[in-house]
Structures are given as structure tokens and as C-alpha cells.
Symmetry: C2
DNA sequence: AATCGTGAGTAAGTATTACTTACCCGACTA
DNA sequence: TAGTCGGGTAAGTAATACTTACTCACGATT
């Protein structure tokens, strides 16, 4: 995926990736990216429509990689419930391990309407669709209650994951990922009433 | 709250409020705000630290109003479970009724670190704390399972609400709020396993 | 062997826009 | 009546995302 791309483009992507470790996207100027990459500012616009497009491409690469890793893990599980639980734990761990991309995905791209037209977002949607299919299977084969709404369950899982880790990402807190994910699983699968 | 404030300041707040109905915050220039308000650009900086501060003040007013309305509703309910359910339905309905502020709160302010230092965010945190207290009560008096994590439950509820309505807000879709909230309630309180 | 086309990159703008600085004016007030 | 102060204006300025016009190396084509 990063092959067959001109060296300048790779240098720009790597420069932004590096800068994002230290600054948030808005604070990173095109001049700084160019300087860090060792190219001129104009070159950015040879390879990217605009500054956001550059971010979306970087984000898209990482989401694609995550999607592949997740799919591999899902394929190792047989039941819908096992798959959904591994989705929760894998996603949570990935956000916490790769906090920079967590921050970008959960906080820094959603305010731009263009993101929702990007291929990065399309990959996220595809990922969610495959989880939704797992839920539908689970309902069909009796692993999950027939009367739950599959879309709402999907969104509840995604929302639970995001908000469980959001403070950790925003305020750079430590967090006990296994404990958090097992608590989410308990709540969603067993409910909170005794 | 809007009293005792100079007319120019009120005009500026109203102008931004109006413009946000049609454009997202980044697309609204200070020049446009000033023109809409019928004042000069410089006056904005007499009353607000910067453009974001103006947005945060507007948002803060609305969050405070919502917080009061929610508290009134919570006080009418007696059990923790009833309170938590009314929290879910009231919050969901409020987001959908006031989509502009939903969009701002869920999508447009979280990418700026300053938001998390604003009084708007402080009010949100206070609101979440009061919900957390309700959860703690529920656990104490046996309405909720002793072995759930109260913070994770709080975040699961908040995340479930947000993601249930996010697509509706982003893509301006219609949504059946009572159906969605009752599905969230079912999932969280009863669990998804049969 | 000369030429042509093209991919890769540069250099020097320009327009926009958030924000600043210096000033004005009318109405209380001492 | 002089002073001061809240409310407001006008004309900047610096930063910065993006554009435009150009250069150069090099492999293919005739």
C-alpha cells in the first residue's frame, strides 16, 4: 500500500505521523510538515487535495490495518457472542495502544464534514457492517435475544467502547483495559439489573 | 443569565446561534458573525477571548438549561432505574430536538483542547457526576447488580445515547426516538443474552 | 542521437481570516 | 466642568492554507 508511491509523498506522510505524536492536527502547519519532511510546501498539494486529505489518507491506512487484524481475530472465534466480545476487547486495546490514532479518530476528524466522505470513514463503516452481520447471526441462531434491535446494539457497543476510553485519551490517563472490557461485556451481555 | 449583558454581546451570541443553523462552526468567519450581528469584528474580542470562547459560551448556556430541565425530571422519579431510564430518554430527545447543539457538542468542540477547560464542559461533567451518583445509589440499594462497574456503566449509557443518534445528526436522518431509547434501555438493563 | 513527455520537485506568490491596536463618543459623576 | 468608563469603531497585521508558474532529470520514441 505504501509501495509505488513517490518518495516525497512517503516523506510527507511520515512527517505528519511523527508530528501528530506531539501536536494536535490543527496546530500542525503545512510549513511545519514540509520542513519535517524535507520538502517544499507546494509538494503537499501535488499529492493531497488539501491538508485534511493528507490526514484522512494517513488515518485510512491505519484503519485498514486494524480492520485486517480484527477480521483475523474474529475468524478464529465461532460463536457470535465470542466474536462480539473479541471485537470489544480488540478495539479497546487498539485505541489505548495507539492513542494518537484514537485521538484523531474520536476527536479530531469528526468535526469536518469531509471526513464522512473519506475512504477512511468508509472503512470504518464497513467494519461496523461486519459487526452488525455478526449480531444478526447471533439473533438468528438464538445466541442473542430475538427482541433486541441489532443496530442499537451495534451502536451501544461502539459507544460504550469509545466513552470508556475517551477520558484516558483526552487526559492521557492510564487505564486497565482488560478490566474495562470485561465490565462492558458484563453490562451489555448480562444487563445491569440483578 | 443573558441579562445585564451589553446589547452588542447579546447580538453577537444571537448572530452565531443563527449562523450555526446553516453552517458548521469552522465555516463561520468572524467577519460574517459581525455582519450578521450588525457590529464590527473588533467588538467580538471585547467580550470573548477568541472565536472558540464565543462558541463555548453559547454552548454553555444551552447545556446549563438542559441540565436544569433534566434535574427537574430526575427529581420526579424515585428509583435509580427509573431515573437512569429518564436520563436516557430525555438526553436522546434533547439531542434530536436541538440538533444544532447536538452537532456542536458531539462533533464540533471535542477537537479543541480548550473545550475541556471551558465551563460548558465543566457543566457536562457535573451532569455526568450526578448520573454516576444515581448509579451508586442503585447499586447500594440493590436495584442494580453489585458487581458492575459504576463508571463503565455511566460511560456505556452516555456512549450508547451518542452513537444511537450520531448518524441522525451527521446525515440529518429522521429517527424514532421512543423506539431507540426503549431499545437502549432493554439492552443495558436486561442484557442481550436470552 | 535528438527530442519529447512526464513524474517529481521547487520557489514565490496570494487571499483569507483570526486577532490587535489605537481611537471615538456619550453619559454619569465628583 | 473635567474626568472616567462602558460600549463601540476602524484600520491594520501576522499567520497560514493553498495556487501558479517554473525547473530538472530521465526513459521512451522516432
Amino acid at each position: 500500500m505504501t509501495q509505488h508511491q513517490p518518495p516525497g509523498k512517503i516523506k510527507i506522510l511520515k512527517a505528519l505521523s511523527l508530528l501528530l505524536e506531539q501536536h494536535n492536527f490543527n496546530a500542525i502547519t503545512t510549513a511545519l510538515i514540509a520542513k519535517e519532511a524535507g520538502v517544499t510546501e507546494g509538494l503537499i498539494y501535488k499529492y493531497f487535495k488539501d491538508k485534511k486529505d493528507l490526514l484522512f489518507e494517513l488515518l485510512g491506512e491505519n484503519i485498514t490495518l486494524f480492520n485486517q487484524a480484527l477480521t483475523a481475530k474474529l475468524n478464529k472465534k465461532n460463536t457470535a457472542v465470542e466474536k462480539l466480545k473479541i471485537f470489544i476487547t480488540t478495539t479497546t486495546k487498539a485505541y489505548l495502544k495507539n492513542r494518537v490514532f484514537g485521538r484523531i479518530l474520536l476527536l479530531e476528524v469528526r468535526n469536518t464534514p469531509e471526513y464522512f466522505k473519506s475512504s477512511a470513514h468508509a472503512t470504518m463503516t464497513a467494519l461496523e457492517t461486519s459487526i452488525h452481520d455478526i449480531i444478526l447471526d447471533g439473533i438468528k441462531n438464538g445466541e442473542l435475544r430475538k427482541d433486541i434491535d441489532s443496530r442499537v446494539l451495534l451502536k451501544t457497543m461502539v459507544g460504550a467502547i469509545e466513552h470508556a476510553i475517551l477520558d484516558a485519551i483526552i487526559f492521557n490517563q492510564e487505564i486497565n483495559a482488560p478490566a474495562v472490557t470485561s465490565h462492558i461485556n458484563e453490562i451489555i451481555f448480562k444487563g445491569v439489573e440483578p
